[in-house]
């Protein structure tokens, strides 16, 4: 599915010894369909950086990321963009709503951008599962942080991707919703045989993981 070989991310920053530092040290990693992989680690350890590289959002300083047989970072921008709207879905760490669109329109945005058929009912169903169907015609500025988070999860799921990346999908959620989201993601991996990669601080996430990674100072370890 996704296979990363020797990827690293180096940023310029004056440290004691050098002018740069590794946000992510050279790493190999593969993500399998049907599995929920969980990555945990302290703040600033490089989790988001790794996720961005794996999902085609950030070109690594070195190394390659392949999806099936495609080398993501040697693809044409149009092809890679299209992949991002279809086979690869990302729930980013921050706010990611378009304020001029309604919640439902936001959820359908990937399909609209790739000119794929709009599955409105499926989208509404995802919103229902996540408990925000009543907000489908509201605008994002009216929503709470947790509702926005769930909206972007609904957007990622509605995209029907082969692999779903989620960066701190439960950060703004209460326990009940954390449980809901994590079990939905696990169901997506297990029942639909898709790959899911979740970055989280949430200790409870361990018990949902089929594979657990830790990250510290840019170094990835499998637990």
């Amino acid at each position: 599915m996704i296979k990363a070989e020797h990827i690293s991310m180096r940023y310029f920053r004056k440290t004691g010894t050098a002018n740069y530092f590794y946000a992510v040290q050279p790493t190999d990693l593969s993500i399998q369909p049907g599995e929920l992989a969980v990555l945990m680690g302290r703040s600033g350890s490089g989790k988001t950086t790794l996720l961005n590289m794996l999902s085609g959002l950030l070109k690594p300083t070195e190394g390659t990321v392949r999806m099936d047989d495609l080398d993501l970072y040697s693809l044409d921008d149009r092809v890679l963009s299209r992949l991002r709207g279809t086979k690869i879905a990302v729930v980013p760490q921050g706010r990611s709503a378009i304020d001029t669109l309604t919640v439902l329109e936001n959820v359908l945005l990937p399909a609209r951008l790739c000119a794929c058929p709009l599955h409105v009912e499926a989208a509404v169903k995802h919103l229902e599962h996540l408990g925000i169907a009543h907000l489908k015609d509201a605008r994002p500025p009216e929503l709470s942080g947790g509702e926005l988070r769930r909206m972007s999860i609904a957007r990622a799921l509605s995209q029907g991707p082969d692999i779903l990346f989620a960066d701190e999908p439960t950060s703004d959620l209460d326990d009940e919703n954390t449980f809901l989201v994590l079990s939905m993601l696990r169901a997506f991996a297990h029942e639909e045989k898709k790959a899911v990669f979740v970055v989280t601080h949430e200790n409870d996430a361990r018990q949902y993981a089929d594979r657990l990674y830790g990250m510290d100072g840019g170094i990835l370890t499998e637990k």
Partner: protein, 399 residues
Amino acid sequence: MKNFSLAFNNLIRRPGRTLALALLSAFLSLAVFGGSVMVLSLRSGLHSLEARLGADIIVVPSQAQSKVSFQNMFLQGTTGAFYMNASALDQALEVEGVEKAAPQTFLASLKADCCSIKIQVIGIDPELDFTVQPWIARSLSRGLGDMDVAVGCKVEAEVGEIIRIYDQRCKVVARLEATGTGLDTAVYCNMETMNALLAAAEAKGVSHKIESGDEVISAIYVKVKDGCDIDKVNSRLNGHIRKVTAVRTRSMITGVSDSLSGISRTITLLIAAVWGLALIILLLISVLIIRERVREFAVLRLVGASRGMLGRMVLTESSLCGLLGGLIGVGAAALLLFPFAQLIESALQLPYLMPSAAVILLLALGTVLLAVAVSALSSMIAAYRLSRVDPGTTLREGN
């Protein structure tokens, strides 16, 4: 299409921003369209004046220079009456270098019971005339019969109507095309009619005869033979005929075209200033908006928009703004220019003739296209920067 609908959506749901941008384009279009219509109107006013003057030299009685200025009659349509002996025409024809000479006789009607309107009446000799006839011919296929009049477009009389001039009943047989000059306020008839009117005026006690015998004329339009020096012919005319002044039409037109080019220059400068200002402001706004929209574009990138799509979206948005603004601007200019054409004309005190509908439409179209182009151009920087937003970095936590 998806670009278009997204761009359209962005405009609709941010009406304040859209309107602000559109109004800038509207301002630009108003200046460009309004200004060019005015310049064109002045130009064609001048051309039509040249054509109506149509002669190289005009001979008028010496007293006409001091009385109502001949030029004012032409340019502003003030009425005037001055006379010389009709024999001056034959004398003019004798002068070397004169190819054609045609008389005109003027009579001002009164604002009194005997006349239905106060106007300038101009009598022409259909046999000799070479300036007014071609113009009349465009509205009237036959010649002017006795007691027939053709009226300028600003005279309030319809074809078929009978107007009274010194209690003479004249039938309006044609309305003439606009010239944008004082000629539009005059009424035209043949010499027989004019003589009848002169006699009627005389009977009313409006004396116009000088001690000049029975037949009078007011002006002689002279065409100089090809290759002859107009100035020389002019001075020969002045020398040969008594108590007249021969004026080169060029000297009348130069005055007009001088003030015309002055006004044209002012308008052009104004357009350029507005244009420059609008472009700078549009550019500034579009650059300022980049910051505000980085996140939005990062999200679009995240969910599958390519760089090209985003660039095109920005350009589509700004083009639509430009289109809206262009239409508003042209509309506003039209609302100002057309109903107030009279006012503009009298304020400028220059011949002012609106271009044809086709030309105006073309100008309007050109202006709208220009507004679209300027708007799109000014968003190029934004299009470039926003299409290169890095979603990975932008969408990290914190914002």
